[in-house]
Symmetry: C2
Subunit: 405 residues, 2 copies
Amino acid sequence: MPLIVQKYGGSSVANAERIKQVAKRVVQTKRKGNRLVVVISALGRTTDQFLKIAGQVAERPSEREMDMLLATGEQASVAILAMAIQELGEKAISFTGPQVGIITDQSHTRARILDINTERIRQALRGGNIVLVAGFQGKTVTEEITTLGRGGSDLTAVALAKAFHAKQCEIYTDVGGIYTADPRVVPQARKRSRISYDEILELASLGTQVMQARSIEVGKKFNIPILVRSSLNHACGTWISKEIPNMEEVVVSGIALNQDEAKITIFKVPDRPGMAAKIFKTLADDDINVDMIIQNKTQTNLTDISFTVFKSDLKRAMDSVKKAARLVRARSISCDQDIAKVSIVGVGMKSHSGVASKMFGVLAKNKINIEMISTSEIKISCVVRGTKGKLAARAIHQAFGLGKK
Amino acid sequence: MPLIVQKYGGSSVANAERIKQVAKRVVQTKRKGNRLVVVISALGRTTDQFLKIAGQVAERPSEREMDMLLATGEQASVAILAMAIQELGEKAISFTGPQVGIITDQSHTRARILDINTERIRQALRGGNIVLVAGFQGKTVTEEITTLGRGGSDLTAVALAKAFHAKQCEIYTDVGGIYTADPRVVPQARKRSRISYDEILELASLGTQVMQARSIEVGKKFNIPILVRSSLNHACGTWISKEIPNMEEVVVSGIALNQDEAKITIFKVPDRPGMAAKIFKTLADDDINVDMIIQNKTQTNLTDISFTVFKSDLKRAMDSVKKAARLVRARSISCDQDIAKVSIVGVGMKSHSGVASKMFGVLAKNKINIEMISTSEIKISCVVRGTKGKLAARAIHQAFGLGKK
């Protein structure tokens, strides 16, 4: 009998009514002749409530105790879903991550899965049970409870799909799939029926929050077919899989607009080897994530360096940049929050030329100035004025023929 | 260094402010030169919320899944308290019941502790930690999560006190001790400084909810000194210990008033051997708890049997009694909800005569009719009209000199 892993996010189990809907869908899948392992996140806003009370009792709650606390959310979800499934007349049994032997390293709040001991789940499956596993959690070899970081339930699901050689891993969200662009920005956006691991990874790094990036990496590494779909309806979702030949016919598979970044420029840095290294080591030491980096040589022996950071990190970043600027004896610094980054992603770029020039042409035709450019093998990102972001995304979306047919 | 076990109930950790207060008290105890194991219940109304959502998704939630769900409440509490203690600069570490090897039988929702593996806690204590243990929970030998039933955190605390040969076990409640009577009923009620295990057991069976009865039994069996006190102030509480000689000078140590019972009478039961057995087996099979039983032979070959049940069970009890009455061919049945049971408890009764007659005399003097009487070695209970319950309790309290001095 084929085995399917399903994962339901927190909003899918936000209240009793939703939980019953999920139970019904799980039972339907089972009755179609599948064995089932189901991974669930914490109910609705449980995690936020825990973070709030932790913040009330401690300035910097210990990460070990944070894991003890947060792991309870998923444990509660699986128990409640098990009850709801049993109520529909199917056998179900819930387990915590530690109970089913999801062994991780010791990095509390961001642990990595080292191994999964499959015996307990196998036994429960042999007993005809739908097996429910609390997402997001595991234990160390010394029986300490750990959690896998934000989006960790996705990772639990993909890792279980790998461990059990599942036919597929289904990720249920309220979004229902992966779109050519964010429908709130580009009304013509269309749900893709298929996308490659690499494309979704690029989109994830551009801020498209559909699945945790690490879980996609695991899916890619072990070639696990992942289906992203809605828990609210039975519409087709989006398959994430490796590239297949005709995929390349689609040159651009998605557009991402990111308005959460700010641009920092350090002016007149002495143009000598090691200057960039000094600057970005200072930022890294202060735990500032840097995205795009552009260096422009403006005059003899001096250069300007620009880069983008998340607006939420901006205050800390500026403090760090001031230190760095002193260190390399740069002239001055500036910061610009009014920017937008628009990106196109597609494996087809590898074999199609002229994609970049087409994108730049569309922007030019719409009188949108490009301030920064950065590219990878399957991605092109342009930074434009913040006020032009949506216009840029819509124009590019249309130019590449991504809209609804 | 002496070791103390402390247990804080759900209301002691109802919100962030209360949790910080508990943390402060725990740290004070530690800094006085004690080693500390602290047991905590679920935060505030967590358990009620879990029961509610379980009831929404299933008519009869499976007991195994109920344990998975409920056990999360105490796990969350210990983690949060650990953070609050660490914030005060002391080392603390939290554990679930399963993590510290509290091994129970397989009776989900009412498991019994079979064994406690003390190694993990010992190691944490050696490391200078305040050790926090989630109350109310354990695991079976097959790693299934179990809970110990209502008041189970008391049992966790007393069992840990036994396993670690603790100097004492402190139970923190909002009540702050054990009183000669419920202060809401008898304003003159006084906090006892000391009471015996047997007396508190009798009081517990009479409905005085201070500690779970099973945990007192364990305390008695292993002679563990238990101190019941308030988490809100530093007032002296009440010591529960074995009888000590001068205890007997106090003839009556407490009065209990129970207005939660109803009286059922089965009239004209054939007066033959086996009739009572048939009636009460029927009730037991229907899971009805029966308290006092009185049989009165009223005429040749016929007898009346009266007994009390909890009002909350009354509807089910009457259904069951109808079956029983048919079975023994009794004439009729009646039910009376307007009763009160007033009881006096005291180890001194064993060596003092005339206690019962003094109690009956007080009731007579106050023109209170006695409808049923039941006694044990250290307890006398009388059923009176419901409207006379409070008057009876106050009069007896005064007659035995229990009031504030």
